[in-house]
Amino acid sequence: MKSNPLTIEDVLTHSRVRPLLAEGDVDRILDHLRVANASEKEPVYIRILVGIGAWFAALCLILFLAVASLIDSGAGAVLWGGVMLGAAVVPGRWRRGIFVSQLSLAMAIAGNLLVLFGFAEYSGFDEIGVIVFAHAVITLLMYPLYSNSTYRFLSPTALAALVVFWIVDARVSVWFHGLAAAEIVLVGTLFLSRRRMPALEPLAYSAALMLPVVLLILNLSQAHLWRTDFNEPLWPSNLILALGLIILYLYLAGVHHLRDSWMILAVTATLLLGVFTTPGILVAVGLLVMGYAFGDRVLSAFAFLFLPLFLVVFYYALNIDLAYKSAVVAGSGVLLLLVRKIAGWCRPDSAEKSADPFVSGKRDT
């Protein structure tokens, strides 16, 4: 009998348990547990609370400096911003208690905003590219130095948002596809990586959030909201997303399943969706598949949050008539229902595995 307490690894590799698991499951479960253990111990709701508090405290810090006339020029803002970013890194490395971590986060946010303001003033508030470049440099410098997960999530998210503003401002809407492709590569690389570094976890979720946001804004550009005539075709993003989804299936199931009937069905359905649907639906399906495969509620929540938003935005897109939109949306739905039905016939055990978040409230991971 073993004298030490059993570990999860002992259980998973036990001769009676091992045959119950599919190939790769043990590695996946252990990776998941390793990442979960290595990430911050603070519960999510406390991180959200601290993040909101730090945001408002950062605004107060900026107002303090502004009213005290300490940032009356762009150079002054950059200087004070740099000091604050530096000051944030030092206590941030101690990670002692909520107050210190919140103070360092407030200084990091305020410092970041001040540096961006400084560069914006330097460029006469005309060149968004300068702000994007400045924020990209700050993100690259701060990400490895400052270990606060909230900042590590917010900073790349803000970078992607600034790039979107840049694209809209410069009216080069074709770059939406480039940005979406970059986000897809980032999401794929980070979530599918077998040995994901815990430090990259916030970056992974930031990319998973900004991917649908970028596509949502691409769809919004069709609604003539900015009084510009983008009329950017959606098919490049559709193609990239469909390919990304097929790679995801192959990763999850293994290349040796390529000729299985259910894999052929999934790939065919994805290609069909890629041909006629809107990117919003494809990205929602992708997030849903990843959320289910990795037992990740955040990804599933993104999928359920963004699908209705895409539908609303798609409804108001002015370059397509409602009859065509109706056919696209209903056709995508019918296709998904057919896939579900046929997949049930191909794999009789799949029905038992299906998780229903609305009914059970809990899911198998």
Partner: protein, 291 residues
């Protein structure tokens, strides 16, 4: 998951189609198709049974199609009715299905319809014709959400057959707190123009926060509603502190902003420490914990 996504997209497609208002489709044909679809959904739900997820999704589809039916009716017969009537009629018509289906998604759809109906009533009739203050609307919405939440917590299937999803609890707690917070914050910000109904709503907020905190700390331990309540309490407290400091010193006093910033850090840190201690308590080492 595919079932939900597929059903949602098909329903959205049907909605888009009838919004398109195809001229070549006659009015009887339009209404007949939708009514037929409602009947098919209900028959399919009966066939599948309400314990089956597919059956529940069919009831949800029938409920959404009922709204489409009312909208198309309004599109065909331009009665001049206000939009709130469509939503209130829709809410009444599907209420029975909502109660028997025990389906969280359907409850959320129903609450969204009810909320929209009441908000539209206030915007289109209540405020312009009867000068009903917004505080009463906030109180009404909080009471509705509170009643469903109470059914969720106390009913356990006997009084109101509600589903037992924790995400539904979290949404309901937020839906009770948000409408009550608005008049409470207004009471602080516009203290000189206080009206009786604002004080009433703020009192209801205080009772809700204290009662909710006690309930989710001792009776049904759950950290997420506690965190929502504490976050809400912090927002109100910090608004009070910020208003007090900035009104006393004036907006041109730089130090005041620094002090407010430090108060924010202090209050939120204390709240976080409090929550962490609560989560470490024995009551939360059971099913209720969700980090």
């Amino acid at each position: 998951m595919l079932l939900f996504f597929g059903a949602a997209l098909v329903l959205a497609g049907i909605l888009f189609f009838f919004a398109y208002n195809w001229k070549e489709m006659g009015r009887f044909y339009k209404l007949g198709v939708i009514q037929g679809a409602v009947l098919i959904c209900i028959a399919a739900a009966q066939w599948k049974g309400l314990s089956d997820t597919t059956g529940k999704v069919f009831v949800l589809s029938a409920s959404v199609l009922t709204g489409v039916l009312l909208a198309v009716y309004g599109q065909i017969y331009q009665t001049g009715a206000d939009a709130y009537e469509l939503f209130s009629g829709w809410a009444v018509l599907i209420a029975g299905w909502v109660f028997i289906a025990r389906f969280a998604a359907l409850w959320m759809v129903w609450l969204a319809v009810v909320n929209t109906g009441f908000i539209l009533f206030w915007v289109q009739v209540g405020k312009p014709l009867y000068h009903i203050p917004y505080e009463y609307l906030c109180l009404l919405l909080a009471v509705i959400h509170g009643a469903v939440l109470a059914g969720f917590e106390l009913g356990t299937g006997r009084v109101i057959p509600l589903p037992r999803n924790r995400w539904m609890r979290w949404m309901l707690v937020s839906a009770v707190l948000i409408p009550l917070s608005l008049p409470t914050l207004a009471l602080i910000v516009q203290f000189g123009e206080v009206r009786g109904q604002t004080v009433l709503a703020a009192s209801a907020w205080a009772v809700t926060v204290v009662g909710g905190y006690r309930w989710y700390r001792t009776c049904t331990p759950d950290m997420v509603p506690l965190a929502l309540i504490v976050l809400n309490g912090c927002a109100v407290l910090l608004t009070l502190i910020g208003k007090g400091i900035l009104e006393t010193t004036g907006l041109d006093n730089a130090g005041a902003f620094l002090v407010v910033g430090l108060f924010i850090l202090g209050v939120v840190s204390l709240a976080g420490i409090w929550l962490k201690k609560t989560a470490a308590g024995p009551a939360f080492h059971t099913e209720g914990v969700d980090h």
